[in-house]
């Protein structure tokens, strides 16, 4: 994981509006601000617009409003320039072809190479490191199509790590992971944040959000209802208003990685 370079102005989303093609507007003027070193959770009930906001931030959906990184308008950048700055981990991939895991992760270096050039020694080193960091080095030569859901999700994370982009956007990255892999993923995200990255993850499990994120944005009906430090957002009143459930504060089952059992 190489240190990303990003100024303190961070990622700013202002007045983001997204309309489905030939359909209604589903995101109505979302504002959010994320700073380097921060892990942000994007939460909300089903249909709140979390994935739509994330995709619009990656540039996959046409949107109105502005998205700037360190003051630079991302919409003015080419796909290649944007990929240098923002990496995306989708919830699932459409890939069914038997590409090797190493080749899938190497696609993360796409924006760093010209059409004809072969992977440089640096590219290969970055890919190997990403495979290690995402805990999939032992799968490197396996065809992607033979992997389990959890293994695929980790490979998609490795591909995002290989981009070395300072902003990492993840869409439900833990939905197919077991508890150990969830903890390992959050350890990776925390390490990246400590090195100056901006991490924004759509998460469903509020306990996970409370445990692993610094700030949270609670979306409902395409609008930001609450934003702030995670303990203030994942709290009784906001959760009741958005989800219609009562948050019960009590000690239940919890997990942690054993000492020395995390990632290097």
């Amino acid at each position: 994981m190489s240190p990303p370079s990003i100024g303190q102005r961070g990622l700013a989303v202002t007045g983001l509006r997204v309309r489905h093609r030939h359909g209604p507007e589903v995101v109505h003027g979302v504002d959010l601000q994320a700073h380097p070193g921060e892990v942000m959770g994007l939460v909300g009930p089903n249909g709140a617009g979390k994935t739509t906001v994330l995709k619009a931030m990656v540039g996959l959906l046409p949107s109105a409003g502005t998205i700037t990184l360190d003051g630079q308008d991302l919409s003015q950048l080419s796909a290649r320039e944007r990929a240098h700055r923002v990496a995306y981990v989708p919830q699932r991939t459409a890939l069914t072809a038997p590409l090797s895991v190493r080749s899938v992760v190497d696609l993360g270096r796409f924006a760093h190479r010209s059409s004809w050039s072969r992977p440089s020694a640096h590219d290969r080193a970055v890919v190997s490191q990403a495979l290690e960091d995402a805990n999939v080095a032992d799968l490197a030569e396996r065809p992607f199509s033979t992997l389990s859901g959890g293994e695929r999700q980790r490979v998609l994370l490795a591909r995002a790590l290989a981009t070395q982009a300072p902003v990492l956007l993840l869409d439900e990255p833990t939905s197919a992971l077991d508890v150990r892999q969830v903890l390992l993923l959050h350890t990776i995200l925390r390490t990246l944040a400590q090195r100056g990255s901006i991490i924004i993850a759509v998460l469903h499990d509020l306990a996970e959000v409370r445990e692993h994120t610094d700030r949270a944005v609670l979306l409902q009906d395409g609008q930001v209802q609450y934003t702030g430090p995670t303990p203030e957002v994942v709290a009784l009143e906001p959760v009741r208003a958005a989800y219609g459930v009562d948050l019960i504060e009590r000690a239940g089952l919890a997990y942690r990685l054993p000492t020395g059992g995390g990632v290097a």
């Binding site: 995709k55 796909a79 923002v86 989708p90 459409a94 890939l95 696609l107 981009t163």
Partner: protein
């Protein structure tokens, strides 16, 4: 030596063997010293046309399969070959009606054939993409290709029927559509070489983009692929390759489907390997089929495309059934 390396050696051996055999086999006796040079020249042009048509179709097949993320796609199945063929017929007809007699003798209608084929192939692909949209299922793309192919063939049939009233035009259209590489000479080869070489070279430069597209358009875009540009250029170069193949080989079907399929288990799915392998494999395949039609004892002329269809159609049905069984038609 690994599997991929061995595949390359076998491909080169099969291609070289086909080229040598193609020069040695055919009508005419090479021991006739007076005619030997002529026979060899004619066989060389035929060999070149067959190899180039096969290489172009197989490379075009890899391109459209990557573009549609659909391993059942090929220029013939998507209607691109029929579109190119119709484009060629339209150009021949327009030439006959509007320009015949007014053009210099050194500019025969055949020289404009590739232009007509190119426009026809390009329009066919554009029509297909417009009708199916971005996220069409495998079955939608195949059905639309089938309908377009039927439409182009019907319009072509109509044109042939009208053209038969004019002897010269009727002869030209029949020679173009029904006769394959055996009826084409060095002029056709000279016209097709730049189209195929350029088309393949540029297609090769899109190899990594096509690899990225295997993950879907959204993911490809997120890692920096200009998807709109890839789509636009893949259409242009597929049309160019198909047009070149149709201009020199007529309607040769299924090569773009069979050759990439046969090679994937050996060279993998990455386009940097698959595309040049398909180029060599396509050339070798059509050269050997052309040798076959020369040696099979038939009363009349056996078109090359008949043999590729006889082999290709059952393979396509098998692949279709397998895809349906594995739930890959959505």
């Amino acid at each position: 030596m690994n599997r991929s390396g061995l595949t390359w050696i076998i491909l080169l051996l099969v291609l070289t063997g086909g080229m040598i055999t193609g020069l040695l086999v055919g009508d005419g006796d090479l021991s006739d010293l007076a005619l030997r040079e002529t026979y060899l020249k004619l066989r060389l042009w035929r060999l070149g046309n067959a190899g180039l048509a096969g290489a172009a179709l197989a490379t075009g097949g890899v391109l459209v399969q990557g573009l549609f993320r659909n391993p059942l796609a090929s220029p013939s199945i998507l209607g691109t070959t029929a579109g190119a063929s119709l484009g060629g017929m339209v150009v021949l007809s327009l030439w006959n009606v509007l320009l015949a007699g007014s053009m210099p003798a050194w500019l025969p209608a055949e020289l404009l054939l590739p232009v007509g084929c190119l426009l026809g192939a390009w329009l066919a692909l554009m029509l297909l993409m417009t009708v199916t949209g971005r996220d069409a299922s495998v079955i939608t793309v195949l059905l639309t290709g089938f309908i377009l192919s039927s439409l182009f063939l019907s319009v072509g049939g109509l044109l042939t029927s009208f053209a038969s009233e004019d002897f010269e035009l009727g002869r030209a259209i029949v020679a173009f559509t029904l006769r394959g590489v055996e009826a084409k000479g060095r002029h056709h080869l000279a016209l097709a070489v730049p189209m195929v070489v350029l088309g393949t070279a540029v297609a090769m430069s899109w190899a990594r983009h096509l690899d990225a597209l295997l993950t879907g358009e959204d993911e490809a875009r997120s890692i920096g692929v200009d998807v709109v540009a890839v789509r636009r250029w893949a259409i242009i170069w597929t049309a160019t390759l198909t047009a070149a193949a149709v201009a020199i080989g007529g309607n040769i079907s299924f090569v773009g489907l069979m050759v990439p399929h046969a090679l994937r288990p050996f060279v993998g799915v990455e386009h940097r390997q698959l595309m040049p392998a398909a180029f060599l494999g396509g050339a070798a395949f059509v050269i050997w089929v052309d040798i076959l039609v020369r040696v099979v004892p038939t009363r009349g002329h056996l078109p090359l495309g008949v043999v590729t269809r006889l082999v290709g159609a059952p393979i396509f049905l098998y692949l279709l059934a397998r895809a349906a069984r594995e739930g890959r038609m959505a």
